[in-house]
Every structure is written in C-alpha cells, then in structure tokens.
C-alpha cells in the first residue's frame, strides 16, 4: 500500500435530513428527543434538532473505509464532538495521513459544517498486511 504522510482522503459530503435522523434513531436505538422533536430540542437550549454525534462518527467511519477499501484493517477510530450540527446543511468529512510507521498508518479525520468549522475531530489508525 503506497501511502504518504500528507496524503488527503477524498472528501465525503453528506446531506443529512430530519428523515435521516429518525432513520438513524431507529437503526441505533437512540430515541433521545433532541434528534427529532423540535420543541423538545428548543426546550433544552438547542438551535433545533441536531445530528447524533454517532451519526457524524459513522460518516467519518465511511470516509476511512471508503479510502481504505480492502488494503488494510481499521485498528482504532476516535472522535470528539466539538459542536452541534443541524439537518438540511451539508456535512463535509475530510482526512489526511499524519504518520506512516511500518505497517501502521495514522489518519487525522474531521467533519466540517458549511462554514468550514470543524464540529467533529478525530483520528484513526489502520494496519496494513505484512
């Protein structure tokens, strides 16, 4: 696998909708009202219903697995949620290679809102075959 430090992963742009939040709530089994009930979301001082942090993590997981293909295996995947995101706005997932050491590759990954603010940041490590 020919991977170099600084290499960028192809961007993955998602277009989350309220419908997708409901779909995700069902698939994950997370029925916290802030993800589908506008009135409830406002009552806890949110701008409206917000994306599940783990949905944004799943988007970033797809960014990595799309790039990786069958060239290696995911070893660790870590994300921190730094800001809230609302549906009906594009969510851009990006990443780059930060370290290559033997069979191990480290990636920096992040998700940006449409203003370019990184609302989710994370890292991943992948193992390459011997």
């Amino acid at each position: 696998m020919n991977v170099k430090v600084g290499e960028e992963l192809p961007d993955l742009v998602k277009h989350p909708t309220t419908r997708q939040l409901v779909q995700y709530a069902g698939a994950q089994g997370d029925f916290y009202e802030i993800h589908y009930d506008q009135e409830y979301a406002h009552s806890v001082a949110l701008p409206g219903v917000i994306l599940h942090g783990l949905l944004k993590a799943a988007f970033l997981g797809q960014l990595v697995t799309d790039w990786l293909g069958d060239r290696g295996t995911l070893k660790t995947f870590e994300v921190s949620y730094r800001g809230v995101d609302v549906p009906a706005h594009p969510y851009r997932c990006r990443g780059r290679v930060t370290r290559v050491a033997g069979n191990e590759v480290e990636l920096e990954v992040w998700g940006e809102d449409e203003t370019g603010k990184r609302t989710t940041v994370g890292t991943a490590t992948v193992g390459l075959p011997d």
Partner: protein, 139 residues
Amino acid sequence: MTTTASVIDRLKSRIGVDGPAVMATVEAGHVRRFAEAIGDPNPRWVKEAPPTFLVALAPVSLHLAEAEEYGKGWLNGGNRFEYFAPVKIGDQITATGRIADVYEKSGSTGTLLFIVFETDYVNQRGDLVARLRGTTIRR
C-alpha cells in the same frame, strides 16, 4: 432533596463495576438498516458490520436515569473504538459495559458532568472483538 454532590458520589461508586452482560446477534437486516441510515452503500456491509455498528447492537453510553438529577440535557462528548477482530453477520456478541470515570468540569456555559463508559464486545468464540469508550456529558 438530592444534592449534586451525592449524584456524583453515587456514580463514582460504580466506577469499574460491570453492568449486566447484553447478548445480541449481528443480524443482516439490522446491519442493512444501519448502513442505509448512515447512507453508506459499501457492499462490504452485506457480510460484516460497519465501524460504528456496535453501538446499535447493545446500549453503550447509557442515559443513566440517576445522572439526570444533574443539569438538564445530555450531550455526547466523544467515542473511541478499538478493534481486535472483524464483526461479521451472524456473530453472537456479548457486550459488557461499565462506568470508567466520572468528573466535573467548568465550561463556557457552566459546570458539566462527564461520565466515561467503557464497553467490551466479545464474540461467540470468546474473542474480544472491540472495546468502546464513550464520554457522555450532562449539561
């Protein structure tokens, strides 16, 4: 009336104590619905589970009722997955979760309560397939 301090003390007393084990089969239909929900059409997910699927298999960052005495809402702070073996369709996974840490921190909007959960996922052969650490915040 319950004080904030006693909520924290009660949560802290559970650090490192395993919750009940939850057993679940990785079902093709569930994985398909999960992949559809995240909008990931990768054909790989016909045979194996996408990286974050384990959170759908068994409750992990539990919204503990007793922590709800603190603040007014939940936030997800972050998640860390460590993978040791692939999770395939048909696998029978046993998830065991515990509180790993509890601490308070001052933020721009006031004091927050951080609860760190750790969950181990073991397959039907007894292999640890993944470990998840999730930080949940009461605000």
